[in-house]
Subunit: 442 residues, 2 copies
């Protein structure tokens, strides 16, 4: 059953977003400046709320790293303020003319970027994520329904209230305070998943099982990824020193994340030469190796089981398999991979291009670490998330992942009947160049 | 329960599509030429199969218009052959470099178009639709699972077999014959809806209730629209003659389609002047008018009920409401509309732009008939469907609606560790112009 109170509140967010869609860049940027100012002015109260969350977390014996991520202090405040400034400086993603075409004299078609609508964001304990996500949504003209980690309840509540206050306070401002809504319970999240009339896109950030749960329990499109089972294929033509160096980085530079390497596929021709130096390098950084029988016959390692090929370790463990051919490597990736990030290490540009063309993953790489698949490293300006969707947005997603488009047709009295029957008018279908259609008004 | 036989067959389509993804434009265009040739050579058998379908349809007393749509004769053959030629002449939608960026010296990122994967298409009785849809899928490198109308079973079977035969016959050809699979029963469709591991996007064409059924019963993304409740808002500043002419076209030029006008919203200030000539013009073309109390006090019409605002008549019926303001019109559209196509008739460019900015529909129009929202009229080259999705593709969808993209990162030994810690390397993040990245190999 749908909680009518929550549905009513989300309906208000939907209505507020329709107002937001008509605001200008100046409206939305001025609003973000106001948010920054109120944040600065009320920092004492924010720190106070955060201390309550931390005290409760300590009382409940939360793990130290979790408590560390929960902290919102002067340093975090400075960094979120810098983040808001950066979002203000981004170009307006709205009202961009993506294409324009004359259909006939005085009948001009434009495809124009616009917000998707209302975004449902579910994120983990870091309360600074709330500010980052809300800033990207207001910048792009989307309404937002948020659910943060319950450990950060007090901090999230005051941060969300600052966003509402900034909307209410601005004289003559056009950002309605209902544009943002904070959920506080898991039951509310469960209900939100059914409210596809009010939520247009879900962006969950959290554990794989949580993201999978969201994907399996809603009709709302979900932008995210459940798993990152990333592979590297060491081709027969690989440069061994380069391959070892890249593999060590991909596995051990930061193993807890989705773009870390989990399975290494090694061409049989190069295995004898490649595996011993690899094993030595991996030993130095403390990586446990699990290999198939052929691997275990060359280096000292734990025998891998079928389950290893399906496992995202997120830890200093690497599974290794020897393959007879390029095709076997690709088949393994298509069978066991998660379509996230997969790479080939080879000195052959032809093999590299064939790999990148064949492997059906969001990110495909040649002679570099899988750890590069990331919005910041890709230079996307702002990262909204990483997606293994194949429609809409794939791989690291920037602000444009929050955008839709609409078709605007500017006529001067045209009717379809004139273009049908005997002696019909003909469409001209002339492409109009970007330079000729700079503003929405012309 | 999942039928393992069907799952096994769809898994083969998925595998075949991975091969298709590596074919060149030349492979796929040559294959389409082969299909055309076999179609020509086997036309007698195709017409024969079609005669069986028609004989059965007549025996089962199908409606005349349905039988007419079922017909596949010499005329239809010529038009599908011309259609195949047109698809061959379209530019390759694959391997288009959508953006490119230098991340650092020797570390080049490209975002490149690629097929989505396997498309599930469910279409109505016209068997020529099978050829059109399959041609667009092969052109774009997507696999396809098809279900046509059961009335056309014999014709669809032979047409699908010609596509398979062309793949099998081509010497050295690289299109695997498993790339296309024809479903023959409704139970198979029901099962397909659960097989999200093998189908990446569903495109249903059929009645609203059927499309809605599909949308409600699958986790697979659905490109389509359930309803087209299209509005025109006659602003106080409308030119009356223009408004009457456009409204008559939008309602009566072809009322059975989704972009036909269903509800007219009239600003109170212009109602006395506009409604009488409108009523007269609508009477001439046989349109029944249903108005609210205010409308009924000005012209002779049937009183509208609440349900009328929610109804897609697809018939010569128009509901009319008088609104007090622009905002009331927009609110009505957001309350009762289906986000398909909505228009404003006004001589004020400011009101027109505000309307197109505010109304959250796939197609928004000024001073022209809603009937223009159509892939052919928009000049999209080929129409895959019309979508009321807000992600991926919205409004009339051309070939690019069948495309996804992947990120290709071309490195030369880079590791992430070099870009972190003290004294990290800096990313250059230099945009590379289109002209500099013409081919996939450079």
């Amino acid at each position: 059953m749908i909680n009518t109170e929550l549905a009513g509140n989300l309906e208000k967010v939907k209505a507020a977003q329709k107002i937001l869609a008509v605001t200008t860049r100046e409206d939305r940027d001025a609003y973000l400046s106001d948010v920054a100012e109120i944040l600065r002015n009320r920092s004492t109260a924010v720190f106070e709320a955060n201390r309550k969350d931390i005290a409760r977390a300590e009382k409940e014996h939360l793990a130290k790293p979790l408590i560390k991520r929960l902290l919102f202090d002067k340093g975090k405040l400075d960094s979120v303020l810098a983040g808001i400034d950066q979002v203000i400086s981004l170009p307006d993603p709205n009202n961009r003319i993506l294409e324009a075409r004359e259909l006939d004299e005085g009948l001009i078609l434009k495809r124009v970027s616009c917000p998707i609508g209302v975004i449902g964001m579910i994120f983990e304990s870091r309360p600074d994520a709330l500010i980052q996500i809300a800033s990207l949504c207001i910048k792009s003209g989307n309404g937002i329904v948020l659910k943060g980690g319950s450990e950060a309840a007090e901090t999230n509540r005051i941060l969300a209230s600052i966003f509402q206050e900034a909307a209410a306070a601005r004289k003559g401002g056009r950002v309605p305070s209902e544009w943002i809504y904070l959920l506080e319970t898991r039951d509310q999240v469960k209900e939100m998943l059914k409210l596809d009339a009010f939520i247009d896109l879900l962006i969950p950030r959290g554990s794989n099982s949580f993201v999978k749960y969201i994907m399996d329990n809603t009709n709302i499109p979900v932008l995210g990824h459940a798993e990152g089972i990333c592979h590297s294929y060491i081709d027969a033509d690989a440069d061994i020193a380069k391959a070892v160096r890249i593999t060590v980085d991909a596995k051990s530079q930061y193993p807890a994340v989705c773009n870390a390497l989990e399975t290494l596929l090694v061409n049989r021709e190069i295995a004898q030469d490649f595996l011993p130096p690899l094993a030595e390098a991996m030993k130095k950084v403390g990586v446990e190796l699990r290999g198939d029988a052929a691997v275990c016959s060359i280096i000292d390692c734990i025998p891998a089981e079928e389950a290893d090929w399906r496992t995202e370790y997120l830890d200093l463990i690497l599974s290794i398999k020897i393959v007879d051919s390029f095709d076997n490597a690709v088949n393994h990736i298509h069978t066991y991979g998660s379509g996230h990030t997969d790479s080939i290490i080879t000195e052959s540009p032809t093999q590299a291009e064939l790999f990148m063309q064949t492997v059906d993953s969001a990110d495909v790489m040649w002679n570099c670490s899988t750890r590069f698949s990331d919005g910041f490293r890709y230079g996307l300006g702002a990262e909204v998330g990483i997606s293994t969707l194949k429609i809409h947005a794939r791989g690291p997603v920037g602000l444009e992942g929050l955008m839709s488009y609409k078709w605007k047709l500017y006529g001067s009295g045209q009717i379809v009947a004139d273009y049908t029957g005997s002696n019909p008018r003909k469409f001209t279908h002339k492409k109009i160049l970007q330079e000729q259609v700079s503003g929405p008004q012309n």
